[in-house]
Subunit: 600 residues, 2 copies
Amino acid sequence: MTRYTAPLTEFRFLFHEVLGLERYGNLKSFAETTPELFDAVLGEAAKLCEEVLHPLNIPGDRQGCTLHEDGSVTTPEGFKDAYRAYVEGGWPALACDPEFGGQGMPVTLSLALNEIVSSANMAFGMYPGLTHGAYEALHQHGTDAQKQTYLPKLTSGEWTGTMNLTEPHCGTDLGLMRSKAVEQADGSYKISGQKIFISAGEHDLTENIIHLVLARIEGAPEGIKGISLFIVPKFLVGEDGTPGARNAVSCGALEEKMGIHGNATCVLNYDDATGYLIGEPHKGMRAMFTMMNEARLGVGLQGLAQSQIAYENAADYARERQQGRALSGPAAPDAPADPIIVHPDVRRMLMDQRAFNEGARAFYLWVGLQADILRGDDDAGTRQKADDFLALLTPVVKAYLTDRGFRHCVEAQQVYGGHGYIAEHGMEQFVRDARIAMIYEGANGIQALDLVGRKLPADGGRAIFAFFGEIDTLIASHADKDAMQEFCTPLKQARDRLEQATMWFLENGAKNPDHLAAGSTDYLHLVGLTALAWMWTQMADAAQQALANAEAASEAPAFYEAKLVTARYFMQRVLPDSAGHLAKLTSGADSMMALPTEAF
Amino acid sequence: MTRYTAPLTEFRFLFHEVLGLERYGNLKSFAETTPELFDAVLGEAAKLCEEVLHPLNIPGDRQGCTLHEDGSVTTPEGFKDAYRAYVEGGWPALACDPEFGGQGMPVTLSLALNEIVSSANMAFGMYPGLTHGAYEALHQHGTDAQKQTYLPKLTSGEWTGTMNLTEPHCGTDLGLMRSKAVEQADGSYKISGQKIFISAGEHDLTENIIHLVLARIEGAPEGIKGISLFIVPKFLVGEDGTPGARNAVSCGALEEKMGIHGNATCVLNYDDATGYLIGEPHKGMRAMFTMMNEARLGVGLQGLAQSQIAYENAADYARERQQGRALSGPAAPDAPADPIIVHPDVRRMLMDQRAFNEGARAFYLWVGLQADILRGDDDAGTRQKADDFLALLTPVVKAYLTDRGFRHCVEAQQVYGGHGYIAEHGMEQFVRDARIAMIYEGANGIQALDLVGRKLPADGGRAIFAFFGEIDTLIASHADKDAMQEFCTPLKQARDRLEQATMWFLENGAKNPDHLAAGSTDYLHLVGLTALAWMWTQMADAAQQALANAEAASEAPAFYEAKLVTARYFMQRVLPDSAGHLAKLTSGADSMMALPTEAF
């Protein structure tokens, strides 16, 4: 009862007319492809998403996963075949290292793939999605032998990977971790403990699952500085590279949860399971952050991805559902009523969603591009700048895109009226599925704290000032274009508010760190709003250029005209929230912290 | 895994120190009671809610309702006994007319009862809740004979009532209705058609169900002016007043929905069912609005009610869950970590919820008080003013309290981190249950349209100007109190923004009605924010007075100090959103309406 059409035109516009990916031929990952190939690759992926993955989304939610008495878990009907098709298409390998069988394509493209997979079927997308985090940690921190053993199979998708952090008493505060590791004579470790909330922790899609597990080596220092990262394969891998003996890790339970029922969220019990240390002892957090940062971008996309598919269905419904008459006179006088898209408040909800979706997509692709630049540019200064942006904006992609993405799923559901609350229409599933993205891979409050507590002050605020610099350059470049001022002026106002917030933090954060934390979520949203305004200004410019030279443009004028309308809507109807965020942030921590604990 | 404690201290404070209900002895409903009785009655209800209704909330969601082959529906285990206890306690009769067995207590008190029942178990509360709407329509529009036949049983709760509006192709636009009524020789009608989304449409709690059904009498005018309201009892009522023959109305299906699983949401099929006209032919909408307005206040409360119970559990969790350390140094140095309530961003979520819950409660009780004044005051001018406020603010109670209530349930769920997503903790149920309140009894966008299209312009804007007058009087009365300025100043600012928005509508709405509709949701939120700021100013004043005269105060100083902190938080951290609403509203309809339909 839902449909999904991958927004390929949007991607083309962003790749070629906004981001100008053609300019990045100097990067290795871009050199091996052509801009046209980008479109073709994504077009192929779109078919799989639309025709194979999406039809399983509602049935997968209904059926969920099943834990059997022998500890095995089956995924919903159809997932196994769909996963096989995904692997046969070579999709897991897209952005992986060619040395291990990967295709070496850009991160930017890989993120676009993630978005459309996640729109089509978020629960399904998490199986390969988590694998990629495990791949990254191994790729950056594993020994050559470990890489040779595991990376080719993770790259091909023959095996999947997991991330094991959380324990019942410890989530955000990993220093409290109890899972333990005891070194054996052969250099391996015996791992014991219980991990919870392990997505894709057990399933029937692949012949092996590679768990990356945080645990404390016997005698390790207390707290976070005594945590190490281990590879714990479900089946131990023999000399010939094939799965052998079953390891002592088992699924104790599947969590009953609000959504993403098609993904198996497991309690995993480790009972002297054999594990192999990755990197140095007690340095597990570093490797874990490699996985986390990668995963955080992916989770941000999930928020947008659900908002996108929810929007597509809400727009269809608003065009079809007939109810009431336009205030300006009947729009469909021969029908018993007008389609509800004539009503301004329905438009408001749809335009809110559009303005977010298109702006957020531009934003995450730009951030993804920084990852490609960081990996492949020859110039150290360029790499450093990209690294700064990636570090600063990863928590913003994660939290802003999931906070707003969830909110827009709720709005899309609202367009359906009572029918939105009924399971068969599928809109309530988007809301339930999107909800987890605000929580996992570091709850959004933690992202905000990471932003203001670590990323903002790093190197004297170098990253945020570079961000202001990018915006200022853009505004300056349009200084003499009258038609751009309706975008540049509100962008400038938002940027100035963000600067005021930053200065307020600089002045007050040192006196009382609670001031920083108290304003962290408002600050994160201020960055998110400003970033999207910046993106919309670039998109408006690209649209105006295309309209001015319509014969050379790739799309019909209506496409670019819609871009200008939506850009205008963003500036007039979304961006004004920046005023509230600034006012709240500069009120400081006092009223927030004054109540004694027992008063709550 | 959840707990509920009715906020009785809050009610006492509002009843006696803020609203001063003692001053309303002139009203009949207040004269028959004493202020102390209010507290005692609510205290009794609280026991039932906490001990009987709340323990059934999670099990009721899990089990849901069951439709059997014979068309009968069973409610979740325990609901039948709980309903019996509810009836034996006399709760359905609380605010009903003594002429039909009611207790004649104030609406204000009845709303307070609704809140705590809905917090304890929203799905359960809908069975008696909908009955009350049917009671009101019959009480105001029924004949004496109809009243004698049905009201005593609805008052006692021996029978329940329903509201039948929606059909598959028509929800908001009731003019499209197809259900038909054919007059019979005996003056009764045969009703045929299908109604959907009928809450409590079929169940096993009572021996009879009285359906109030909208249908079109054969030959009636087209559209909304040809709709009549009928009584269609599940069992026809004999001369002796007891249920007799089964009527031709049957439950065709139960909807599978996002939440409120404990309430039976039915497809009802009418196959020449016997019905009795209420009021005049073709004037059904008038009677229906009687039910709707009553129900809309009740739905508004549901939003707050879910936010309240979600807050209580989130506050407990935040005090218990240990994770990380306070930025200002360990708060619990002997424990492995501090409770998460030390973290500002967790505080932010809890304070947001508190500031909303307490402000919203004051607001709906004040609006409820207008209903008591309207019914019972001797002075026509006083009654008219109360009627104006009730009309103006009912859509605000409905939509603002449910929009924000839902949002705060999501925030409370967020406090739990990953555990909030897991069913056993019960937090995700609050979110799923609260979601419907933004949709039913008129989706929130319809409330906003009612506010700006009907309520605002009525009598030349008399109601909104009276509202400004109340605020101005309050501000003026505190002009020389320095300690009140931190509340009065932001209240004044919000009130001025609301006035600017109103003036903008006056200037632009006539030119283009889309401008009104485009700004309607922002306007409604602006009214809601201003109303809560007004309430918080009154609460702050009451708290300051109590602190100044602590010996005479009812509560300990800590209670009033917490009120001042929360009032301050509301002004600093919630009210600034008013700036964004005004900016969006005054941008008008153009960017919202410019896209052609096919561009979506």
